[in-house]
């Protein structure tokens, strides 16, 4: 399928982008639709690297779920763990809920500021000096300290788990590239078994692999339904164009 042309539109986040891609193709939210728009999603990510660190972490997490869905659709034999199936199910649910919110937000947009209700202006009253027992110098100073302490932080810290996964994506692409450039014939199972410590790595390996496939660096073939996928290089392999 032709990669979908995405206009340079500002998306609120990965779900916003994903929903937009699905709706542009006039699809219903399900795994088939998600598999179809996976390439578009990845393409968008590659073309828009200007997202701030935290934003792109959210995008990449969704991307890995999408690639999982796509992999499953390409390789029906791929066994998903319970957690993986759950993350796919979750993504569909979230998208549906988000879609509903978007529909409802059209109503809010139409109402907002159009025919406001006005409150009564305060009637002028002669003020009567009425202090409060809490108004002592000590209390005021303590309150000031607390105000200063609670001034909002400029940036919220990125959850560590998210950072780790983002970094591992890049590592994984690098490693996969190294492996394939050496002309090694290997299976996906072997490759991922080196990193079985973390489930997320499997997804990320897939991501990296599929990325390379898309760039025409690798040829994937599957002999039989229950066979492993074989990967080998096709001629010269450069650095994946991730810029």
């Amino acid at each position: 399928m032709e990669p979908f042309k995405i206009k340079t539109e500002q998306f609120e986040g990965p779900l916003d982008l994903l929903l937009n891609l699905i709706e542009k193709r006039k699809l219903h939210i399900n795994d088939i639709a998600l598999a179809k728009v996976t390439d578009d999603f990845i393409t968008h990510l590659q073309q828009h690297q200007e997202y701030p660190m935290e934003q792109s972490a959210h995008f990449i997490l969704i991307a890995s779920t999408l690639l999982l869905i796509k992999s499953k659709s390409l390789l029906p034999t791929l066994e998903l763990t319970e957690e993986e199936s759950q993350s796919i199910e979750d993504l569909e649910k979230r998208l549906k809920e988000y879609q509903r919110i978007k529909e409802l937000s059209v109503h809010i947009q139409k109402l907002f500021g159009v025919a406001p209700i006005y409150w009564k202006n305060p009637t002028k009253r002669e003020p009567i000096f009425a202090p409060d027992a809490s108004m002592t110098m000590d209390n005021l100073y303590e309150t000031m300290k607390s105000v200063l302490l609670h001034l909002p932080q400029k940036k919220e810290k990125l959850p560590e788990a998210v950072v780790r996964q983002v970094i591992s994506l890049e590592d994984m692409i690098e490693k996969l590239t190294d492996r394939v450039t050496s002309g090694l014939r290997m299976t996906f199972k072997e490759f991922s078994s080196e990193h079985k410590a973390e489930k997320v790595n499997v997804i990320v390996s897939f991501l990296a692999m599929l990325e390379l496939v898309k760039n025409g660096l690798l040829k994937v073939d599957q002999q039989g339904t229950f066979d492993d996928i074989h990967m080998e290089t096709e001629g010269q392999v450069g650095t994946p164009r991730y810029m």
Binding site: E12, H58, L104, F112, I117, Y118
Partner: protein, 182 residues
């Protein structure tokens, strides 16, 4: 003086939202009696220039939305009508789903909502209250000023309010069961 007229006096004088409970204390009657009084007041105000606005356990008097064009001509205060995409989405979630936790808003939108929530808080469109079921977290809910912007006297007057509340609650149930794995 009938109870509904007394309530009207108080709300007019106050010029701000008031808790139904506070009205009951002031007038020295049960909350249920106030509720009846409010119903009767709302009926009497029908078709008038002033109406009753209700949000959860609070009530306030406001101009009827038919007269907003008229008042808009008189007021010097410009309404800031621009919400932006993030603001619109977040307000919609809070209106149709509120009071709601920030994590729920983040979950639905798929992004961090910290900045937009702060922005909406400062604009007075939403308010933050302590979560009664977990004192360390907050819930976000609509304010009377938001009702004012929308020109609705009650959340029930929002389009598709009843049907969507149901749909969203079903989602929330499944989400809460998933949450433990996160």
């Amino acid at each position: 003086m009938p109870l509904d007229a007394q309530i009207e006096s108080i709300l007019f004088w106050k010029g701000e939202p008031m808790k139904v409970k506070k009205l009951a204390e002031t007038l020295n009657v049960e909350v249920g009696v106030i509720e009846q009084g409010l119903e009767s007041l709302a009926a009497k105000l029908a078709g008038r220039g002033v109406g009753l606005v209700r949000l959860e356990d609070e009530v306030s008097l406001g101009t009827s939305s038919e007269s907003s064009e008229l008042i808009a001509k008189l007021t010097k205060e410009e309404l800031v009508k621009d919400l932006g995409k993030a603001g619109l989405e977040t307000l919609t979630i809070i209106l149709y789903k509120g009071p709601v936790k920030r994590s729920d808003i983040d979950y639905i939108r798929g992004v961090n909502s910290q900045f937009i929530l702060r922005n909406l808080l400062i604009r007075g469109l939403i308010e933050r209250v302590t979560n009664p079921s977990d004192e360390r977290t907050f819930l976000y809910k609509p304010t009377f000023d938001l009702m004012s912007y929308l020109g609705v006297a009650s959340l029930k007057d929002l389009p598709e309010y009843d049907s969507s509340i149901k749909a969203l609650e079903e989602h929330l149930v499944t989400q809460t069961t998933n949450e433990t794995t996160e």
